[in-house]
Symmetry: none
Subunit: 420 residues, 2 copies
Amino acid sequence: MQASIISIGDELLVGQVVNTNASFIANELNKIGIIVKNILAVGDNERDILNSFEKYFLENDIVLVTGGLGPTHDDITKKAVCKFFNVKLYQSSEIKERIKRILSYRNIEWNAAAEEQTFVPENCTIIPNNLGTAAGFLFERNEKYFIVMPGVPYEMQDMMINFVIPFLSSKRKGDMIVHKTLRTTGITEAALSELIGNIETLLINNNQVSSTLAFLPSPAGVNLRITAKSLKNEYAKETLNEIERKIRAKAEYYIYGIESEDLESVVGKLLIERNLKIAVAESCTGGLIADKITNISGSSKYFERGIVAYSNQSKIEILGVKEELIVKYGAVSEEVAKAMAEGIRLISKTDIGISTTGIAGPTGGSVEKPVGLVWIGYSDAGETFALKNNFGNDRLLIKIRAAQAALNLVRLKLTGKKIK
Amino acid sequence: MQASIISIGDELLVGQVVNTNASFIANELNKIGIIVKNILAVGDNERDILNSFEKYFLENDIVLVTGGLGPTHDDITKKAVCKFFNVKLYQSSEIKERIKRILSYRNIEWNAAAEEQTFVPENCTIIPNNLGTAAGFLFERNEKYFIVMPGVPYEMQDMMINFVIPFLSSKRKGDMIVHKTLRTTGITEAALSELIGNIETLLINNNQVSSTLAFLPSPAGVNLRITAKSLKNEYAKETLNEIERKIRAKAEYYIYGIESEDLESVVGKLLIERNLKIAVAESCTGGLIADKITNISGSSKYFERGIVAYSNQSKIEILGVKEELIVKYGAVSEEVAKAMAEGIRLISKTDIGISTTGIAGPTGGSVEKPVGLVWIGYSDAGETFALKNNFGNDRLLIKIRAAQAALNLVRLKLTGKKIK
């Protein structure tokens, strides 16, 4: 079964609102194996709305519409739906009772807007709105389904979970689709693609199952999304697992997590499992590593302190970096990165210390030490070392990449991986 | 002029990625008066892509396409574009040189994926990619414009700002639409709306000019976007200025900047103008204030150091907070916030010290000290004080709001405003 989503509202077309509704709906449909063919955003304009209804209901088994069901003058979806299906509105006493209850609960008097919301189209199933006044509608025509929901995200989500998904699950035929995302860092999209090799030999496509692999890059790393499709759910899941196994055989080193797991969360779990504490000394990342670590609830268990040692003086005074090192090698150097990592570990009495010192730019670079050069230091009771990196020429991206690389270095050490 | 946006990628249709690219593009087009008619998401499927190109380039003056320009097998946009315009690919030596520079800069060897990216369509203008390897393309046909950009958000945004918007601005006809955004913080949308009063008396609408005001809330504050439309540019601009004057007369206290100016950038300029230095001592914000300050290029001129004093021990050892204070009042208290702010100022020998200590949750709250309670401390040579805040119950939002409030406190002090 194939669906398309139509999101109605001028606010989407002026860029004021990001269309999170469509992603939510697509994600829910996808889970039950319904393929979303298109997502369309269209303005509060009757002709455009009717044109989109016509095109998409012709091309799809299911059309899901959100938005424009409110009581104000720019909410014209209900009228358009009536025109499209050639039906009239009638006043539903059941809905009137429900809205009365909602208003009295909120201490609001009956008003014209509420009255307007009691009128619903004939010849359709009413989808109850548990959280607001705008009802949803389901039209069944020739084994096709046209579903209309309000644009208020939590009202729509409630309708999807409690009505639309159970309904469509009972109607759906055909393939189950499942996904898994593997999150990598420390490798570019191109290098990862080369490492993994010929995609066709990795994927499994036969008369039982089909599969695909997508590369999704971001400043913090490349996500790999595996998709498998089969009539049987267990075939689809086995296929996912098999492809994951093949990818891990080649790229395990770079995979830090699955689905929406962040690196800072993975590192946090590793530290808790091993009962270790960490502290950070940041120069060019300017607090971003500490910020990421402390985004994780419960990080106070393993994060002791962070020092943003921006000035040389602070590196010397707090971290105990020897002034001679800075004079001889410069603040951005292997020696200073090591001294910072060791210094923060010693003063905080933690098991691990990490550090960054680099040139975030746009100024301050030289031929020898260009913008983007970042030394990342690591220190534990057994060893202290620093790695040289170059993270490009954009200040904010340099910070993001350096913070991610520092956290990844901790992950690699904690999981006993060789540092490349 | 009317535009439509086509976003390509299966990840959009399975709900894995929210289409923030389309909102960004729509918002930028809207600022220069280009109306967005439709936003369409379509999968990595050549026939669907070509069908959408045909329909939307027929119906619009401008089509903007993003996604599918990477070097992997599921990136098929470039091929589809060539088919659509009936042009061939050629290898651009200029792009080859650029990609070589990028790779060598990042210490990556030349590879098949890089080679692939050197091929671009004939008979179009190449849009340079300052941040990645995938070039963009601009096709001009019969005074219509077809623009193709990568889907990586920061690469696309860079192309939009530096190439596409200046280009389209030079081509557009009809009413001039101008915008101005006033950025506020420290006040809710509802309170700001009440403070500003009746919008209709604020706006100017006559036969020469029309205007609107939008409230755009975000965790860091509410932006007010004024829009004015007129055939004459000077009328539109005068209208903007007049409305801005009226808003400032009522809400000046809360306005820290205009357009895309961040609070950390405003505070940075104030510190440079006054030749002052600052240092921060963070507990619950976990490095976010230092991170924001150091996002600004040149911040090393005024930012001396930051301490993320997550453990009590670090508050005592580094900031010189007396242990008795923590025992008596607790780490989250007015007394400790003051001691942290004064401590960081004294050890760093800066003019200003700021601090945060609070309960970011989700655990650790009590009836007396609930999740969301944050004390923000301020210290300069003349005074040391702390302000109590409650920033809700979401860990990340608490961090964002507390960091913003701390920076805003510095702004208010530096501009001689009364602290409310």
